[in-house]
């Protein structure tokens, strides 16, 4: 280096730069490491579930398990009733819960006076924090007896009870995410609609909700994930009979309930069959995420 330039004041920054580079590298590695925790966890979980579940598929056959209607371990491992129960209870929860949630989100974002929104919003957030076992209590004490009275049936532990409890459980997720995405819209959409003489409600349904739909889809899919993965509350209110349900007023057992109830004592091929139940569950979640990606992708083109 030119000797005229090597003064103290010039050397100092160089040292500092080196130190800064070093810190940059450390932080890069730190960020990378943290990001890897999530990826590794997913990979490990998937690997284990598949590793443990495959023997059951090999021994009993994929179609025996997926389409079989009898669950009699260690002889028969048909989980079709559980698949149906999981899908029906989740679908029912979405049909009931999502419209309520979206209307609530619209109310909070657009219509409610401030004081009322400040009352409803914390209540909704509290709902998100309630442990699922407490939802189970609520279902047992209120929903189940109500169904018995309304439909004149001896036992209210039914798919319908599960649907209602799940519908309430997914509310906070869908509400919060939908409200956030409605609030994130530029005010120009609303102003443009109103300036054309459209009513507030018309603007909400024709402009604001469609404009916020990718956020709303995300909320719904998180809600679906919560509903299909819910275990504790479902075990408490749905009756858990591992038979193909004939109607919403019959008990049923979901995929998650099947695993949770039998894992503690299952051994050998029976345990493996429970893991294969888990595989089916994972596949559903992956399909759900894929369809969300697809919807958002289609939207952005």
């Amino acid at each position: 280096m030119d000797s005229a330039m090597t003064t103290n004041t010039l050397k100092l920054p160089e040292k500092a730069t080196k130190k800064r580079d070093w810190i940059e590298t450390v932080f890069h590695l730190l960020f990378l490491g943290c990001a890897m925790v999530g990826v590794l966890s997913v990979a490990t979980i998937a690997w284990f579930v598949f590793h443990e579940g495959l023997p059951a598929f090999q021994q009993a056959g994929i179609s025996e398990i997926i389409f079989g209607r009898e669950w009699l371990p260690p002889a028969l491992f048909g989980i079709a009733p559980m698949i149906v129960a999981s899908l029906i209870s989740t679908l029912g929860a979405v049909i009931i819960g999502v419209p309520i949630a979206i209307l609530t989100a619209v109310f909070l974002a657009e219509l409610a006076p401030k004081w009322l929104a400040n009352l409803v919003r914390p209540a909704v957030e509290l709902l998100a924090g309630i442990p699922s076992v407490v939802y189970g209590f609520f279902g047992l004490v209120i929903i189940v007896p109500m169904i018995e009275v309304l439909f004149h049936i001896p036992a209210g532990n039914t798919i319908l009870a599960g649907i209602i409890v799940l519908a309430i459980m997914i509310l906070p997720t869908v509400i919060t995410i939908s409200e956030t995405s409605l609030r994130a819209l530029p005010s120009t959409y609303k102003e443009a609609a109103l300036a054309l003489g459209a009513s507030h409600i018309y603007s909400i349904f024709r402009v604001l909700i469609p404009a916020a739909r990718s956020g709303i889809y995300t909320g719904i899919s998180l809600g679906v994930a919560r509903a299909i993965g819910e275990t504790m509350a479902i075990i408490m209110v749905m009756g858990n009979a591992p038979a193909m349900p004939g109607s919403l007023l019959e008990p049923a057992r979901t995929l998650t309930a099947n695993i949770a109830m039998e894992m503690s004592y299952a051994t050998g091929i029976h345990a493996s069959a429970l893991y294969s139940t888990g595989i089916v569950l994972l596949v559903f979640i992956v399909l759900l995420n894929a369809s969300l990606l697809y919807l958002n992708h289609k939207r952005s083109h």
Binding site: P186, T188, Y189, E191, A192, A193, L194, A195, L196, G197, A198, S199, Y202, S203, R206, V207, P210, A211
Partner: protein, 249 residues
């Protein structure tokens, strides 16, 4: 003939006295330009004319605005007013839907069902906005696929489709390049035959080119208004003189 008459209008945003005792006539089928330095209340005044300020919390308005002789702040049907007084915003703000649906939006909001009628109005509006030839083959594609200048003309078409009597424009070309700006100015020359136009602009040249009347605002006050020629060539007030000669802004 005055389309709009503003009498002793005062507007407060909370404590902020944004418009001070404004009295101004807006002549029918003429272009009136509102000019003045940033923050002087031009947009605020524009937004009192279609009551968009109703959306802002804590706004207090005194005085009156007459539209064809009727006090718009006494009449309760804001939607009917906004149908007759259209608005074009500073930044083009098409809805996230197709070109066709954007122009059809206002009609559908009014409950017009007939597809034939809607189609006809959409085409006519796009023609009036000098956009038809550029988009006629892709009416069903997303409005965001248009260029900035095209989007702004789409917003003008959307406003025209309601057959308003007045069109309010808040710096409609400030986000556009000179060529797109020129197109919109040409368009306004056509539109003035049918509509009353009130335009906010920061460009003196634009005001000189397109406006019949010009009003100069200063810190919430209407300093001076009159024929555009007079405001630019023979301003009476020294503040107007300073502003139009570009001494300050």
């Amino acid at each position: 003939m005055n389309k709009l008459t503003i009498n002793n209008l005062d507007l407060f945003y909370g404590e902020n006295h944004a418009l001070k005792d404004i009295s101004l006539n807006i002549p029918n089928r003429k272009v009136t330009a509102l000019i003045g330095p940033s923050g002087c209340g031009k947009s605020t005044l524009l937004r009192t004319l279609n009551r968009m300020n109703d959306l802002v919390e804590n706004v207090k308005i005194t005085g009156d605005v007459h539209f064809d002789g009727e006090d718009i702040y006494q009449q309760s049907d804001v939607k009917a007013l906004r149908k007759r007084v259209g608005m074009v915003f500073q930044k083009a703000n098409p809805f996230p839907m197709s070109i066709f649906e954007n122009v059809a939006f206002g009609l559908k909001a009014q409950g017009v069902k007939s597809t034939e009628e809607i189609k006809a109005v959409v085409e006519e509006s796009l023609r009036s906005a000098a956009l038809w030839d550029e988009v006629k083959d892709r009416l069903d594609s997303d409005a965001f696929g248009l260029s900035g200048g095209q989007q702004q003309r789409l917003c003008i078409a959307r406003a025209i489709a309601m057959e308003p009597e007045v069109i309010l424009m808040d710096e409609p070309t400030s986000a556009l390049d000179p060529i797109a700006t020129h197109k919109i100015e040409e368009l306004m020359d056509e539109l003035r035959k049918k509509f009353t136009i009130v335009i906010v602009t920061h460009s003196m040249n634009q005001a000189k080119r397109i406006a019949d009347k010009t009003a100069f605002f200063w810190m919430g006050e209407l300093v001076e208004h009159g024929e555009t020629d007079q405001i630019f060539n023979n301003p009476i007030d020294t503040r107007t003189q300073g502003y139009v000669s570009g001494e300050f802004g």
